[in-house]
């Protein structure tokens, strides 16, 4: 039983418990709305040292988003129960969806930039997991990764933008920022913040030039697409823009970028929709286009535009989510979503057909649907506000193709008389796959007949951008005249597009395929391929694995650094006085050093190289000896001797076993010589400069004065070692001893191994 539970999805009780989450949220929002208790605020101290509070604020805009999240959420949860019935990952889906809903609620209610960002990124990560839900398909994994990379990159841009914005405004509270920013000077820092935030919002809402990830994300199961990619998550970018609109609304740059990117997305998204044959991808492109229209509307000034944003947000959630469910039902019932293979489904799937008709009517903007009112409001807003000609054209394309897309989704697949692929073996899904979309689509129609119900909600949402009176929605819809004419135009063109859909498809597909290579998706792919290529180049450069190369890089950098420091401070250095000609012993030592160094240049044999390097060490020893430091000279001689003997014996052992190679005839030897010369020159200069430094004799004076009276020793160095700094000496000895002790067992092991080998032989 327990096994059946984990393997076969989840039971009804559990499903209902999960569904109770969005349902209770929905009831709560409706209750608060009905009692007019908005706005609500709450704040909890989180990291007081940095002024980060868990601050939340729910105003009209948040309430609208919350309503969409919880209402569509309820529908999605119910729907998923039927759609995923028997799927082994059902529990995972519900858990992820619940978490996602939580993150969405957090994002739209947060009143602190950092808190908002936290939830924002959480939605990105959860959408990654949801898009990649069928992780055993490589397409799913690739789409999920693409979505996360783009929204994740946008998220980081957003983070940087928030940081700059917060620094400039002196606060991270969104409500305070909205008050403060319009009074600030439009400087470079704010512009940078603005651009970064736009990148974040545009990636999330799939705006041009980041639009291409959204249709690819359709690899997700249908409930996920309906929830994330039509109703809620992709609207977050629009939400953020609307939220910050009072802060930046007066900026020409803001207006230009929003209107520009939004219009391009609206037109281009619709054109790309014509290319597709997959019903879900057609809907996805029309979602992209709708988001573009929303962004354009946010960029426009005036109360009409704000009202249009609010109503389009709501209307789109109410018709696009049901249409996604329709696509899911068709997929579920027939096993395909390709529109060429679908037709005449109304007999086998009557309920789905009804949902499609209702939702399609709203999407097309038929009279008596909420979509009609929204279209009206948009036309009104555009004629009131100034927009560039392109935006108007884009809106016409958007409106017309929306009609055609609605036709394809609601009429073509259900009515079209049999063509090549006439009959589809189809069956209607369970009740839970029909009721939720039906309820959403019906509420779209209800609001169309009684716009009064939505009025307060939309006025409240628009109020987050511009103060608006509450009666605004009714006032507009009753007007006739030029708006009607433009509506008629879009219906006419839409009908034309719908009828010639296949013809257009062929033309566009051919044309777009040619420019596909220049498209943003291709750029993105190229960028992704570019990362490994750049990585390969830098990897070859920095990771050759060759120790000489490592040392050369380190030495070269160090030489440059030191040379730079000396060049910068050259004027402050004193030129040392040359104190006559040194004695013959010193000259001899110098000759010894030079001879050793020069000899090592020409040696090919490693042993000879070691010996000539040893010459340099002995020369230095002689130098110390005649410079008043006999003890240092003694140490130098000892170290040099031991080193040469040890290294030479290792080399001899290697040579005897035939494993000692002579130095390769390398091309880089001249370069190595140049590097060595440069390093030598820099160090020589350094010593030169250092010798003029005004050394502070305090320490040496102290030791030479106190060593006899306090420690009873005449050899100052010895006294320092064994008395004044005895503990440090002890430490040094410990280090040496430890290394020795650590090596001892290894040697013993080797001997044991050799003995064992001898015994075996």
């Amino acid at each position: 039983m327990a096994q059946a539970n984990t393997g076969q999805g989840i039971g009804r009780v559990e499903r209902l418990l999960f569904t109770a989450l969005p349902l209770s949220a929905l009831c709560l929002v409706l209750w608060k709305l009905a009692r007019l208790e908005l706005p609500l605020s709450a704040s909890l101290s989180w990291v007081p040292a940095l002024g980060i509070d868990l601050a939340f604020h729910i105003d009209g805009l948040s309430a609208l988003m919350l309503l969409m999240i919880s209402a569509v959420g309820t529908a999605v949860f119910l729907y998923a129960g039927g759609y995923m019935a028997g799927h082994s990952g059902q529990r995972r889906l519900f858990v992820l969806l619940s978490l996602f809903m939580l993150a969405m609620i957090g994002t739209v209610t947060a009143d602190h930039l950092l808190v908002l960002f936290l939830f924002w990124e959480a939605t990105s990560v959860l959408s990654f997991l949801l898009v990649g839900f069928d992780y055993h398909k490589s397409g799913s994994r690739r789409s999920a990764q693409q979505a996360l990379l783009i929204t994740g990159a946008g998220g980081l841009a957003l983070l940087a933008g928030f940081l700059l914005l917060g620094q400039a405004a002196g606060t991270y509270r969104i409500r305070e920022i909205i008050e403060v920013v319009p009074q600030l000077e439009q400087g470079g820092r704010l512009t940078a913040a603005l651009l970064l935030i736009l990148v974040g919002a545009f990636t999330k809402s799939a705006q041009f030039p980041f639009h291409f990830w959204l249709p690819n994300a359709m690899a997700a199961p249908t409930p996920v697409s309906a929830y994330l990619h039509s109703a809620t998550m992709v609207k977050l970018g629009v939400y953020l823009l609307a939220r910050l609109d009072p802060a930046f609304g007066e900026w020409p740059l803001w207006e230009l970028l929003l209107k520009g990117a939004g219009s391009i997305t609206a037109a281009w998204g619709m054109i790309l929709a014509l290319r597709e044959r997959d019903l879900k991808r057609i809907l996805a492109w029309s979602t992209v286009a709708t988001l573009g229209t929303l962004v354009t509307l946010v960029g426009m000034r005036g109360e009409g535009a704000s009202v249009a944003v609010g109503s389009l947000l709501l209307a789109h959630a109410l018709y696009k989510a049901p249409l996604f469910f329709v696509a899911g039902n068709i997929d579920h019932g027939t096993g395909t979503r390709v529109i060429d293979r679908l037709g005449n489904l109304r007999h086998s799937m009557p309920w789905t057909a009804a949902v499609a008709l209702l939702a399609g009517a709203s999407m097309a903007g038929m009279p008596l649907s909420f979509g009609y009112i929204v279209k009206d409001v948009i036309v009104e807003a555009k004629s009131a506000g100034e927009v560039f000609a392109f935006a108007k054209a884009a809106n016409t394309i958007f409106g017309a193709v929306a009609v055609a897309v609605a036709g394809v989704a609601a009429v073509r697949v259900f009515w079209r008389h049999p063509g090549v692929n006439e009959s589809c073996e189809a069956r209607e899904g369970s009740l839970s796959m029909i009721l939720p979309p039906l309820a959403l689509a019906l509420s779209g129609i209800t609001l169309g007949v009684f716009p009064f119900f939505a009025q307060g909600l939309i006025a409240g949402a628009a109020g987050a951008m511009v103060p608006v009176p509450r009666e605004i929605l009714l006032g507009i819809t009753l007007e006739f005249g030029p708006t009607l004419a433009s509506l008629a135009l879009s219906y006419a063109i839409g009908l034309g597009v719908y009828i010639s859909w296949d013809w257009l498809h062929e033309r566009f597909d051919a044309a777009v395929q040619r420019i596909d290579r220049l498209g943003m998706a291709a750029h993105f792919e190229r960028l992704l391929r570019g990362i490994p290529r750049a990585a390969a180049a830098s990897t070859r450069f920095v990771q050759s694995g060759s120790l000489p190369a490592y040392v050369a890089l380190a030495i070269g950098t160090l030489s440059l650094l030191l040379a730079l420091v000396m060049a910068l401070g050259w004027s402050s250095f004193a030129v040392p006085a040359l104190g006559g000609i040194p004695g013959p012993a010193v000259l001899g030592a110098c000759a010894l050093i030079a001879a050793g160094a020069l000899a090592s240049l020409f040696q090919k044999d490693r042993l000879a190289l070691l010996l000539s390097a040893g010459l340099v060490g002995y020369g230095s020893g002689v130098l110390f000896l005649f410079s008043g430091a006999p003890d240092v000279a003694y140490t130098q001689f000892t170290v040099e001797t031991v080193f040469v003997i040890v290294a030479a014996s290792i080399l001899l052992v290697l040579r005897r076993s035939g494993r000692l190679s002579s130095l390769p005839e390398a091309r880089w030897r001249p370069a190595a010589l140049a590097l060595a010369a440069a390093f030598g020159a820099v160090i020589m200069l350094l010593l030169f400069v250092a010798s003029t430094g005004p050394f502070d004799p305090a320490l040496s004076d102290y030791f030479s004065e106190t060593s006899l009276p306090q420690a009873f020793g005449r050899n100052v160095v010895n006294v320092i070692l064994v008395d004044f700094r005895a503990l440090d000496t002890l430490g040094e000895i410990t280090v040496v001893l430890l290394s020795f002790l650590a090596a001892l067992p290894l040697l013993a092991l080797r001997r044991a191994g050799r003995e064992r080998k001898a015994e075996a032989e």
Binding site: Y135, I531, Q543, A554, F695, D728, V735
Partner: protein
């Protein structure tokens, strides 16, 4: 409780381990002697006096040192526990008495380093931390890569020591003082001292262009040692830099900022770019840790402040925990089926869902995805850099975080690939290692949300 107690505990455990090894033989060594001392020392830390000065000011205790010691002890404890559970002699060498002893020595050095009150003690602490680490990295004698890594490490470490010594000599001569404190007047030739010391510290922190040893050493070294190098050893490098910046270089910090910013950007970008192509997970983690060191430096860009210090320490801790988790998973898989290549991790989600989840969360935290601890840490660091006005650095750091997301996701994708046909070995996994990994994963999730960790650190400093 006396201020020297943790060091004494570690020192005596070291001596006892040595004696036990000598008299009871290899099999008689009880690892409890090593990790027990570490755990006890960690337990003692909260009860130590907040401020203390011993040995005429050579050994100091202050909150900053305490926090660093906590990081050192934590990673030593986890390393030891990982190392002794079910070692693989072929890949890791003999993990017994002298291994533990050498690890203790390195730990002791790191602890002395943060408490050093003068230049000589500082240098000795640094050497004591580094030399045993070199020996450890060459521990797997049957693995030629281990020897190769060790050789590269010792040579480059020697070079860095030489630079540091030269810098110290100049410094002592110019200031006439051994004390590790800010000079009363600006020193002549300060720029030269600074360049030498910075280059030396760059080696320890594996900042480019002195980072080259890291990848070879991480790959060749036994994995527990790679963990030690990437956590405590890196923290010791940071502590060393702090000691210099609070001491002799205190006045020079404002002039150094452009250089530090450049180093930070270089480390982030180079580490990231090179990590993209790596096939071996340990090499990959080496480059990831190089870029993480770059992020750490952002905390310095607002000048020396308590907020910056707290941000860096917090990020260090978060980074250490993240690395302990990710490396723990790598070690588990390596011991289960010899997997160290990224490809070997395919299908892990089916095979070992717990390990895969831990790895996922660990990697996402390292990438800085909210609400995990890595994000919170990055936020504090970025805010520091922004407060100092280094907007272009913040921007590049954000870009780099995106690139890092790309390559961390590469591993995640492998784990989620369905394998048909011959599955890699499932393996039993160590129970203790599993528990540690689980605890670390929980810590990653909680530390990002619960503020009191950062608040507490900030309050202590």
């Amino acid at each position: 409780m006396p201020a020297w107690l943790p060091e004494a505990l570690i020192f005596f455990s070291l001596v006892f381990l040595l004696l036990q090894e000598s008299f009871a033989g290899e099999r008689g060594v009880t690892p409890l002697l090593a990790w027990g001392a570490q755990a006890l020392a960690l337990f003692c830390l909260p009860f130590l006096p907040g401020e203390a000065s011993l040995l005429g000011g050579s050994f100091l205790l202050h909150p900053q040192a305490l926090l660093f010691k906590a990081i050192f002890l934590l990673s030593a404890l986890v390393c030891t526990l990982y190392a002794v559970e079910r070692p693989n002699p072929d890949r890791e060498g003999r993990i017994r008495g002298e291994f533990l002893m050498t690890l203790q020595a390195s730990l002791l050095g790191a602890m002395v380093l943060v408490s050093a009150g003068d230049l000589i003690t500082l240098l000795i602490g640094l050497e004591l931390a580094t030399l045993p680490a070199v020996a450890l990295s060459a521990w797997a004698r049957r693995n030629p890569q281990s020897g190769e890594g060790g050789l590269k490490y010792v040579l480059l470490a020697a070079l860095s020591s030489a630079l540091l010594l030269f810098g110290f000599a100049l410094l002592i001569g110019l200031s006439g003082s051994l004390a590790l404190e800010a000079p009363a007047r600006p020193l002549p030739l300060q720029g030269l001292v600074l360049a030498l010391l910075l280059a030396g510290a760059g080696f320890k922190l594996s900042l480019p262009p002195f980072h080259l040893w890291a990848a070879d050493v991480y790959q060749g070294a036994p994995t527990p040692v790679a963990i030690w190098l990437s956590t405590a050893s890196k923290a010791a490098g940071l502590a060393f830099l702090f000691q210099l910046l609070q001491g002799p270089l205190a006045g020079a910090l404002p002039d150094m900022l452009p250089l530090l910013a450049l180093l930070a950007v270089l480390a982030m970008s180079l580490g990231n770019l090179v990590a993209v192509l790596q096939q071996n997970l340990k090499r990959f983690m080496a480059y990831s840790s190089i870029s993480q060191a770059g992020y750490l430096l952002l905390g310095l860009l607002d000048g020396w402040s308590d907020a910056g210090l707290a941000a860096m320490l917090y990020y260090m801790l978060v980074y250490v925990i993240g690395n302990l988790v990710v490396f723990g998973v790598i070690l588990e898989r390596e011991r289960d089926c010899g997997a160290t290549e990224i490809e070997d991790f395919r299908g892990l989600i089916r095979l070992r869902p717990g390990l895969a989840t831990a790895m996922l969360l660990g990697l996402l935290s390292l990438a800085g995805i909210p609400p995990l601890a890595g994000f919170t840490g990055k936020w504090f660091l970025f805010a520091q850099a922004a407060a100092g006005g280094w907007y272009w650095v913040v921007l590049l750091a954000a870009v780099n975080s995106t690139i890092s997301l790309y390559y961390y996701l590469r591993i995640v994708r492998q784990m989620f690939i369905e394998v048909d046909g011959d599955l890699p070995v499932r393996g039993d996994g160590g129970t203790r290692a599993g528990r540690i990994i689980a605890a670390g994963t929980v810590a990653i999730c909680l530390a990002g949300i619960l503020p009191w960790l950062y608040e507490g650190m900030r309050g202590m400093l």
